[in-house]
């Protein structure tokens, strides 16, 4: 894999000058915002679960699925209406980490590449951002499963 070249002393000097002038990301305030919004999304999801348990007789272990589906639909709608990215600019990881971020990454890529057709455009690019999450998520699950099986067989 390509590696980043090391900066020369002249480049390093410049980067120090530039660093001093560049405005910094407001990390503390961003963390607080994302904590609040992320927490709020989870809270809504919990309410949805309770709603599905109470009114649609879902079992507790399965009520998560329709709740998540609602969040995905809402995120995709907000993405299509052009609002999601504005909320995300404010909330940062708060909207990116929950399932809403995943839905947004799929919907936004699909909308963006519609102009290249359904197969090569939408189909080929929909997982442009979410693809790595799936690849490494599946791989991580596989590794964890192997470790678990190994431990279980050793421990009897």
């Amino acid at each position: 894999m390509p590696k980043r070249k090391k900066s020369t002393p002249v480049q390093k000097d410049y980067q120090t000058v530039a660093k001093k002038i560049e405005p910094k990301r407001k990390v503390v305030i961003n963390v607080i915002k994302s904590y609040l919004i992320g927490g709020f999304i989870c809270f809504v999801s919990q309410l949805l679960q309770l709603f599905f348990i109470k009114y649609f007789n879902f079992e507790e272990s399965k009520a998560g699925n329709p709740a998540i589906a609602v969040l995905i639909i809402v995120s995709a709608l907000l993405t299509g209406l052009g609002v999601y990215d504005k909320i995300a600019q404010w909330s940062g990881a708060g909207t990116a980490v929950p399932i809403t971020g995943f839905a947004n990454s799929l919907a936004s890529a699909a909308i963006e590449h519609r102009s290249e057709g359904y197969v090569l455009g939408v189909g080929g690019n929909m997982f442009k951002i979410a693809g790595p999450v799936i690849v490494f998520g599946t791989f991580a699950a596989f590794v964890v499963a192997i470790i678990r099986v190994a431990l279980q067989s050793m421990g009897g």
């Binding site: 980067q15 002038i21 990301r25 600019q89 990881a93 890529a109």
Partner: protein
């Protein structure tokens, strides 16, 4: 005529016989809206992709410039154009429509002055009667090309910039009334190891400073020779860095003398973070606002240093740093 190693002095002083700037819907509310000729109502311009919309913007700017000059496209010898899309298709496709013999160039956001410098050189050598120099950028097309899908919710850092949706065009002629292109300095590619594509101002500032310094040295002039020195799209961050670097080199520019097109167009609008960028940034501000100011007699001599970040989405993923370039063009207008 060659001056020093990398500058040209145009003895015949080609005349900018007309110029045009068109913008998108967001630009219609910008600080310099009065200096635009036309605005698109939405980002699509009736097309079915952002890339096609960009072609239309560029065509509109060229047609407007032709109309203002009272010329037909057959009268123009050459068109020099470039943009940010893959293989500069916006420019090539506009040239297809306009049917003007075409030279495609790529200098990222420095394309405006690269094109104007080359056009002036062709004129000065007697290589043409009329040359059209143009460039365009489209906010959503550039985001799609270089960053994430437009509707993707990634948080942008305060150093990021807003690509201008618009296009600018000028037509150079041999005689007539209008601002004249007198000199140009072609910049070197300078890489200071900045690798964050959301911090292009810092990547381009060293190139701008180098071109400014070389320009002053090769023409043996002081900064006060000009009424205005404007960089292309450094934005607030890149501009502050450039100022700091110039001071370190002992070049002191008065506050009202040195500015940046990326700061002028939207001002300190929080939506655009550090300011504007894109080929259309320096093009619309120079070909609209600055040339208008010259025509009103408010500015007599200006130096525009269009700055470009020479990255590609792939070079960035392959962990290459971002080289910058800057081309300066000197324009004057005395009644």
């Amino acid at each position: 005529m060659l001056v020093g190693r990398q500058s040209w002095c145009f003895d015949s002083k080609p005349v900018i016989i007309s110029s045009a700037a068109v913008g998108g819907p967001f630009e219609s509310k910008c600080l310099l809206a009065d200096d635009f000729d036309e605005f698109a109502e939405d980002l699509w311009l009736g097309e079915d992709s952002f890339e096609k919309a960009e072609v239309k913007l560029l065509e509109k700017a060229c047609e407007k410039a032709l109309e203002k000059a009272g010329l037909k496209s057959e009268d123009v010898n050459f068109m020099i154009s470039g943009d940010l899309d893959n293989q500069i298709t916006s420019s090539s496709f506009s040239a297809r429509g306009l049917k003007i013999p075409y030279i495609g160039i790529f200098g990222a956001c420095s394309t405006s002055m690269e094109g104007l410098a080359l056009a002036s050189k062709i004129m000065d050598n007697g290589g043409a009667n009329y040359v059209l120099a143009a460039t365009a950028s489209h906010n959503a097309a550039a985001e799609k090309q270089f960053r994430y899908p437009t509707e993707y919710g990634a948080q942008k850092p305060p150093t990021s910039q807003w690509t201008v949706t618009g296009a600018g065009a000028v037509i150079l002629g041999r005689k007539g009334d209008g601002p004249r292109v007198v000199a140009a300095t072609i910049g070197k590619v300078i890489d200071m190891g900045i690798s964050d594509p959301f911090n292009l101002g810092a990547a381009m500032a060293p190139a701008a400073v180098d071109t400014i310094e070389v320009h002053f040295n090769e023409f043996n002039i002081e900064p006060d020779f000009y009424d205005l020195i404007a960089t292309g799209d450094l934005g607030f961050t890149g501009y502050s860095i450039a100022n700091e670097l110039l001071l370190k080199k002992g070049i002191r520019l008065r506050e009202n003398l040195f500015t940046d097109c990326g700061m002028l167009i939207y001002g300190k609008d929080p939506k655009v973070f550090s300011g504007a960028s894109g080929c259309a940034c320096s093009a619309t501000v120079t070909y609209g606002h600055l040339l208008n100011k010259m025509r009103k007699g408010e500015l007599k001599r200006i130096l525009v240093i269009a700055t470009g970040a020479l990255l590609s989405p792939m070079s960035y993923q392959q962990k290459e740093s971002i080289p910058g370039i800057a081309h300066g063009v000197s324009i004057e207008y005395f009644y």
